[in-house]
Every structure is written in structure tokens, then in C-alpha cells.
């Protein structure tokens, strides 16, 4: 019985917690990536239609940035500074590390790098004591093609 108890406490429970944490992190990352994709697509709206008939496209970067932040905040339930509001999937402030528009590439695209913190669901205190952190930062880079219908 002692061996059985040890197997549950030291092997099964930590294994389950690890799998659960990984799955939660994976799902959160997917939700955030989806929101970023939708927000980047909104830069289509910042294309200057006056020069759309030409060989290259012109994007108003300021408007594209504004659209991106507004839509990201709306879809992830964040405030203007990208801090989480009630019932937000994000555990802390989303940081936009880099956002680059490539309007004149063969396929116009937007490259974006973001990071967001994630807090563990189980054994928070133990993880905090061992690692000295209460949350972990996940960084990802997303490149999305801008839909251009000339």
C-alpha cells in the first residue's frame, strides 16, 4: 500500500500536473495566436486605397498599429495598455516586442513578436519556491500575409 501511495504522490500526480499545464499553455497560445492573426488581418483596413491600383501598396502604419491594438484588446478582453480585464485568458500584460509591416514584399505581410506571462494552475507555491517565479513568459513570432485584392 505504501508503494501504491508513493506511486500516486510522486509519479502520477506530478505527471498529470505537467501534462495539464502543458495542455493549458498550448491552448492559451493557440487562442492568443488566433487573436493576433485576426488583429493583423485588420491592417488591410489601413491600406491607402489611392495607390492601390499601382504595383505596390501603401499602408498607414499608425492606423494599422491602432487597429491591431484595439482589436487585440477587444478579442482578448484587455484594457488599453494590454493588461487583462475580468475573465481574460491572459495572466498578465501582453508585450508587443516587435511589429514590422512589409507592404512592398512580393507577398505583403506583417511580422509580429509578442510575449505574455502564464501562471501555473497546480502547485503554484512549490513552483514559485523552486524557480523563484510566479509566472513564466512565453514569446512567439507570427507572420501573417495581408489579404490584398487589387
Amino acid at each position: 500500500m505504501l508503494i501504491f501511495a508513493c506511486i500516486i504522490i510522486f509519479i502520477l500526480l506530478p505527471l498529470f500536473a505537467y501534462c495539464y499545464e502543458k495542455y493549458v499553455a498550448y491552448l492559451k497560445l493557440n487562442v492568443i495566436k488566433d487573436a493576433v492573426d485576426m488583429s493583423i488581418l485588420s491592417s488591410y483596413n489601413a491600406i491607402n486605397s489611392q495607390v492601390l491600383a499601382g504595383s505596390s501598396i501603401d499602408i498607414c502604419i499608425q492606423k494599422a498599429n491602432q487597429n491591431f491594438t484595439t482589436l487585440l484588446a477587444s478579442n482578448l478582453n484587455l484594457d488599453g495598455q494590454l493588461n487583462p480585464l475580468d475573465k481574460s485568458i491572459v495572466d498578465g500584460q501582453i508585450q508587443i516586442k516587435d511589429i514590422i509591416f512589409h507592404p512592398n514584399a512580393s507577398k505583403p505581410s506583417v511580422q509580429c513578436e509578442l510575449s505574455f506571462p502564464i501562471k501555473p494552475c497546480f502547485f503554484r507555491e512549490i513552483i514559485r519556491i523552486i524557480s523563484g517565479k510566479s509566472s513564466f513568459d512565453i514569446t512567439f513570432r507570427e507572420i501573417v500575409e495581408i489579404p490584398v485584392d487589387k
Binding site: M1, F4, I8, L12, F16, Y20, Y23, V24, L27, N30, V31, D34, A35, M38, L41, S42, Y44, N45, N67, T70, L71, S74, N75, P147
Partner: protein
């Protein structure tokens, strides 16, 4: 007759120990199965939410390019959700929009699943889900 000769030399104490082992092993196996089942059920709401979000996202992308929630998109989303076992499905989206306007898709549904509440007892739980996302209309209306 053969069995009688085989088992007649085994002492009673050993038989009792073997019966005890069979019972305790059986109990441990059942207990482990219950723990495994409970831990797998932890993943059910997450998986259901993921399915729900991915179906709604497909409709949102269609809505973005079409500028509105068409009856076809709505019916396709409804069928998809119903096919995955969702109930009380409510879908709301704009019927028309201007180019560059922010449009919102709101989908609500519930999902019922069996969950263990105590170690060997279970009950049917209802999970209420909501998808509330926005996009910017890309449809040019002349």
C-alpha cells in the same frame, strides 16, 4: 481428482494471504482506474472549449471577408456545433456592415458531460461556453 492432490499440501494460511493479495490488488487497480478517469476528465472542458473556439473562428473568418453573418455561414456553424454535441446554441452576428467597420460574432452554447464528483460517483455537468470576438469588415459594399 487431480486438483484435490495438487492443493492438499498448501497450508490454509497461504491461501488466506493469496486471497488478501487478490482483494488488495483488485482494490488498487479499481482505485487507479478511478484516478486515471478523473484525471482524463480534467481535460474534457478544455478540449470542448478548443473545439468550440475553432468552429466559431472559421465562421468569424468567413464573416470578415463577407462583411456579415450570412445564413449559410450561420447554418454551417449551427450544424457543426450540433454535430459535436453542443446544445442551446445561440448565434448572433451583423446582417450587414460597411467596409472597415468593426463587427462582432457572439456564440453561446452549452455542453453536457459526465464527470466524477467523488472517487466512485459521477454526475452530468453542464458547461456554458461563449465566443465573443471582433474583426474588421473587409467587404467593399458598392
Amino acid at each position: 481428482m487431480v486438483d484435490k492432490y495438487l492443493y492438499q499440501d498448501i497450508p490454509d494460511r497461504l491461501v488466506i494471504v493469496m486471497i488478501e493479495r487478490v482483494i488488495s490488488t483488485g482494490f488498487i487497480l479499481v482505485f487507479l482506474a478511478a484516478i486515471l478517469m478523473a484525471s482524463v476528465q480534467f481535460f474534457v472542458p478544455l478540449s470542448v472549449k478548443s473545439d468550440f473556439d475553432s468552429l466559431c473562428r472559421i465562421a468569424l473568418i468567413k464573416m470578415e471577408s463577407e462583411g456579415k453573418l450570412t445564413e449559410e455561414t450561420k447554418a454551417s456553424l449551427y450544424c457543426g456545433l450540433e454535430g459535436r454535441g453542443f446544445k442551446d446554441i445561440k448565434i448572433n452576428g451583423p446582417e450587414s456592415s460597411q467596409y472597415g467597420e468593426m463587427i462582432k460574432l457572439v456564440v453561446k452554447a452549452s455542453y453536457q458531460y459526465y464527470s466524477l464528483t467523488k472517487i466512485f460517483l459521477g454526475e452530468v455537468k453542464s458547461l456554458n461556453l461563449e465566443f465573443n470576438k471582433s474583426c474588421i469588415s473587409r467587404k467593399i459594399v458598392n
